[in-house]
């Protein structure tokens, strides 16, 4: 199943994705192997409060703020990949901003 947003780099090529998935696993106590990018958060049993906590921990780790109204957490089409993609977009925006000066 495709992620509804931009294509994602493979997990093996971007260590940040591993970090994000580690945080998701730690906060939701869901087996790390089940956190495939195309897995729907709803199917994994990740509720809105879980997601709030995950976002909080990701923000703390990367020192970023996620504009998390982008995709309502209860949206059934939300996947692990959607979350990862949103984090990466914010991280990329920060990198570009600091490069562009």
């Amino acid at each position: 199943m495709d992620s509804p947003t931009a294509p994602l780099p493979a997990a093996s090529t971007d260590p940040r994705i591993d970090t994000i998935l580690d945080i998701v696993a730690r906060e939701t106590k869901i087996d790390r192997d089940r956190l495939q990018l195309d897995a729907r958060t709803n199917d994994l049993g990740i509720g809105s409060l879980d997601l709030t906590l995950v976002v909080f921990e990701i923000e703390s780790h990367f020192r970023i703020e996620l504009p998390f109204a982008l995709e309502p957490p209860t949206d059934k089409s939300m996947t692990v990949g959607t979350l990862v993609d949103q984090v990466l977009q914010v991280l990329e925006a920060r990198t570009n901003k600091s490069v562009g000066g």
Binding site: T28, K29, L49, T52, L53, V55, F56, E59, S60
Partner: protein
Amino acid sequence: MTIGKRRVAVTGLGAVAALGHDVAALWRALVGGECGIRPIANIPTDRLTARTAAEVLGFDPNDYFDARRLPMLDRTSQFALVAARDAIGQAAPDGIAALGLETRKSGVVFGAGLGVQTIDSSYHTFYGEGSNRLHPFTVPRIMPNAPASHISIDFGLRGPSFATASACASSTHAIGLAFHMIRAGLLEFAVTGGSDASLTVGHVRAWDALRVLSPDACRPFSKDRAGLVLGEGAAVLVLEEWEHARTRGAMIHAEIVGFGMSADAGDITAPDEAGATQAIDAALGDAGLKLTDVHYVNAHGTGTRLNDRNETAALKRVFGVHAKQLAVSSTKSMLGHCLNAGGALEAVAAVLSVRDDVAPPTVGYRALDPECDLDYVPNTARRHPIGAALSNSFAFGGLNAVLAFRKAV
């Protein structure tokens, strides 16, 4: 009036306090006259004047809650849930579902329990450290109905449920209202009580500032009493419509028979003899008890000069010559003043005194005060027949609540 004849049984008791993490351990310690007041261990004391409290030590929430649940629970709700499991485990050893209750007639009436430790640490993070990183569960952890809500969620109780706020009488008001709601037919089964975990440096310092804290011990009714000592904990009572409890063969600890309330409408902190008298009178009237039916009073007994003198005067005014025959004790001398949980812990002690015919003592008692001249069961518990007992709570704000319990027959 038919509904006036409904009776209410106490079928479960639970507690977490300085003297034990379950009600059995707590009661053994109270009857043994053990004192839970010790030098403060859980928080730094360098900025405090009063450095003793009745803390719950050795309580590891991981022993009770899994890692996914815990971030949602302030210590106040943790205590409440542990005490609720203790009480409901007694009342319904095979689970609540086995009781065949209507969930819409099963509710939680609980003393308001602010998440004070969460407030304290969040303020420190936000104002002290200047960080905007507040935990996303800060609000649901702090809200004063959190203990009531978590109990309702854990046990699937879908009937009328809410939190009561009247400072140190909060849980007494909760128990009394739960009792009246069952008697009136609004509930068949109620989980009630209170929880308090507010021993943070800031909160203890605020009590310090009010100049009501004793520098060392809590010595209620003793001539050398010097103030109250704070404590923490929770207590839960399971109340049940009498015939339901009887029919299912429940173990009934005691019958709850009376509840009286009043407001001093006077000073915000100083107690008032007329207000206390009115609440005790109301409880006795509600219970239909004769003065001589009452053998034990679990006093509000804070250990402040004013409260103990005022409470003694009120008991003498209500009971007249029988006042001298009463056993009156303050378990705050052992458990500290547990604020929102105080009334519930003391109600548990009153219920067990009636069940077991033993009055727990007032420990730390040393010298007779001419203004406090009743029998305070000094330092050693006393075994004697207790047909009925009262539990008094006289809160800051002048809001008073008194419960009456009778031996189950």
